[in-house]
């Protein structure tokens, strides 16, 4: 366990090594939240509610979704792909730890760092200008924290899967791009799932994406109440468990086929 904690620390150091990235990061988050706020302002056009959400709830939804994204979002899929492409995966495999476990920990280190030092300041900045309303009920926050922890797991699992595919294709830039877009779209980050047509909502029930952004955001805006919260968390939890299976299978196959490129 020690080594995994150490890895999180290392990741903090790595994030801090590039200060410019850090400051622009805060700005980018603030700009994104503001842009979506004005977009929704135009869409609401004075209407009180849409799909059961008030404008105030929607503003909070947007702000929270982006904040949560800072936490669950990571680049481990790209890193795995790069390490395979450049052959550095070799040096990772001669270390006495689980490669995928270590990558997940790096993602977690990155997530905690962004959450604390990037998105909280960004959110603070935004709260000065936009009318955000945060829940005061402690239970809501506890459910929310649980929920974004599960978001992180689901998203990282999807990233690992996409990364492992590189072992077979050796170059899957296209797949990684597509995956990123699909997640932003279908996780509810850009548009809450309740705004999609009924048939699309029905289809999305069978995919893990809404477990990444939609569920935690709905919990924290108190759009989910009672049973809906439990169902949401259960949905996330089941996907966390289910996604382990393809990862295990693919990883086993990948190790057999491993070709270390270059030298």
């Amino acid at each position: 366990m020690d080594k995994y904690l150490e890895m999180i620390r290392i990741r903090f150091l790595m994030m801090l090594a590039y200060r410019t990235n850090y400051y622009t990061g805060i700005l980018i988050y603030a700009i994104n939240i503001a842009a979506y706020y004005f977009l929704w302002l135009a869409i609401y056009g004075g209407k009180q509610t849409m799909q059961g959400m008030s404008m105030e709830q929607m503003t909070t939804y947007v702000a929270i979704s982006w904040m949560a994204r800072a936490f669950y979002f990571n680049n481990i899929d790209r890193e795995i792909a790069m390490e395979i492409r450049e052959g550095n995966v070799a040096t990772e495999l001669i270390r006495p730890y689980s490669y995928l476990g270590m990558k997940t920990m790096q993602g977690l280190g990155e997530g905690i760092f962004r959450l604390l030092f990037l998105s909280l300041p960004g959110l603070f900045l935004v709260a000065l200008f936009l009318p955000l309303r945060f829940p005061t009920d402690a239970h809501t926050w506890i459910f929310f924290i649980l929920s974004i922890a599960l978001s992180f797991v689901i998203n990282s699992e999807l990233n690992l899967l996409a990364g492992i595919v590189t072992f077979f294709t050796l170059n899957n830039e296209g797949l990684l791009r597509a995956k990123r877009f699909v997640i932003d779209l279908f996780s509810g980050l850009i548009l809450p799932i309740s705004f999609y047509p009924d048939w699309a909502q029905a289809v999305m029930k069978y995919f893990p994406f809404q477990g990444i952004s939609y569920i935690p955001s709905m919990i924290v805006t108190e759009s989910f109440q009672g049973q809906a919260i439990i169902d949401g968390l259960l949905f996330q939890f089941v996907w966390c468990a289910l996604l382990i299976i393809p990862i295990r299978l693919l990883w086993r196959a990948a190790k057999k086929r491993l070709v270390v490129q270059g030298g």
């Binding site: 020690d2 150091l13 550095n88 070799a90 040096t91 001669i94 491993l258 270059g262 030298g263």
Partner: protein, 334 residues
């Protein structure tokens, strides 16, 4: 005890080839041509604990592939590998605790952070106690002279500095077996000497087994008593460096620099009846005679009596030359 046991080890790769032209490119979308390439072809050898072995071969001879199988990175197509009493692929995590690896061409340290942070992480990863770490690593850091580099990020180090840090990083857990894949590539003479001296020292101190691949024969001469030579995936020589020299490097080379230009025929005529071969050097007046040691005085006196010379050198045949000869002729000895 044997540190490494390898029996009929084989590794095959699929190598894809592209068809030519636009039509070919479209056909490649559906079916691709490939052929099986045997990078390592049924090799067998054992290395005893405490041995320093040079593993040499031309580019693409299969050296790196072998090392990757021995370290558990690649799965062999067939054959048996036992390293430190374990199967590298089956028990990867337990196995890699017992080895140290340096790949000269890639860094194992984290690029953006200070060297000491990498060391600290590796110390945790290998579960090295503070006491062992201080005792062992202080010595390593001092010998390799990397103390002043520890707080610098890896990207700011020169190649020589980085290589010394890499070596130290591979030794944090003081492994009984060390794989070095071209550790001195691109390094200057002073750093090379320092690294060689250090390797000798840990070999004596801890009886560390070292398997070394290199293109620099002087590394092998300085460190290894035994060499394994590989060509096209097959072992063509496995034995002592001394014996290799005796079998292949018999005789001496005499380099004459004549005052005027010489032709091969006149020289051949001159040493007629003697077992001498002549080779031209870089200029028309520089010629090298290769002759058995016993004939040395005879050859020199015949040449000097008939022609005036500017300079004369007597050399042992270098290991490099021996190896070049073996590759050219492709004969197995030893």
């Amino acid at each position: 005890m044997n540190a490494i046991e390898v029996e009929n080890l084989r590794k095959e790769f699929k190598s894809y080839s592209s068809r030519s032209g636009l039509v070919g490119a479209f056909r490649d979308l559906f079916t691709r041509n490939y052929k099986i390439i045997r990078a390592v072809n049924d090799i067998s050898f054992t290395v005893k604990q405490g041995e320093m072995v040079g593993y040499i071969g031309e580019n693409g001879a299969g050296k790196s592939t072998t090392i990757k199988m021995l370290t558990g990175i690649l799965t062999p197509t067939s054959g048996k590998v036992i390293v430190n009493g374990m199967n590298p692929h089956k028990e990867r995590e337990a196995f890699v605790r017992t080895i140290g690896v340096v790949f000269g061409q890639r860094s194992q340290l984290w690029w953006d952070i200070a060297v000491q942070e990498s060391f600290r992480l590796l110390k945790k990863v290998y579960r090295v106690s503070d006491k062992d770490y201080n005792e062992h690593m202080n010595h390593v850091i001092e010998t390799l002279d990397i103390g002043p580099l520890l707080d610098k990020p890896v990207r700011k180090l020169s190649l020589g500095q980085r290589m010394r840090c890499e070596l130290a990083a591979a030794l944090i857990h003081n492994p009984p077996l060390l794989f070095l894949d071209e550790p001195t590539i691109g390094l200057d003479v002073l750093v090379k000497l320092k690294i060689r001296q250090f390797l000798k020292e840990i070999n004596e101190k801890y009886n560390t087994t070292i398997l070394l691949t290199t293109h620099d024969i002087s590394d092998i001469e300085a460190l290894c008593e035994r060499v394994i030579m590989l060509d096209e995936g097959k072992i063509i020589y496995d034995g002592s460096l001394q014996k290799l020299k005796e079998t292949w490097g018999e005789g001496k080379q005499i380099q004459f620099t004549f005052v005027s230009e010489m032709s091969l025929d006149t020289l051949k005529e001159l040493t007629d009846g003697l077992q001498v071969t002549w080779k031209q050097g870089e200029q028309a007046n520089v010629w090298t005679a290769h002759a058995p040691s016993a004939l040395l005085p005879e050859v020199i006196s015949r040449v000097v009596n008939c022609y005036s010379i500017q300079d004369l050198n007597i050399n042992e045949i270098s290991t490099e030359e021996i190896i070049r000869n073996i590759y050219e002729e492709g004969v197995v000895h030893g």
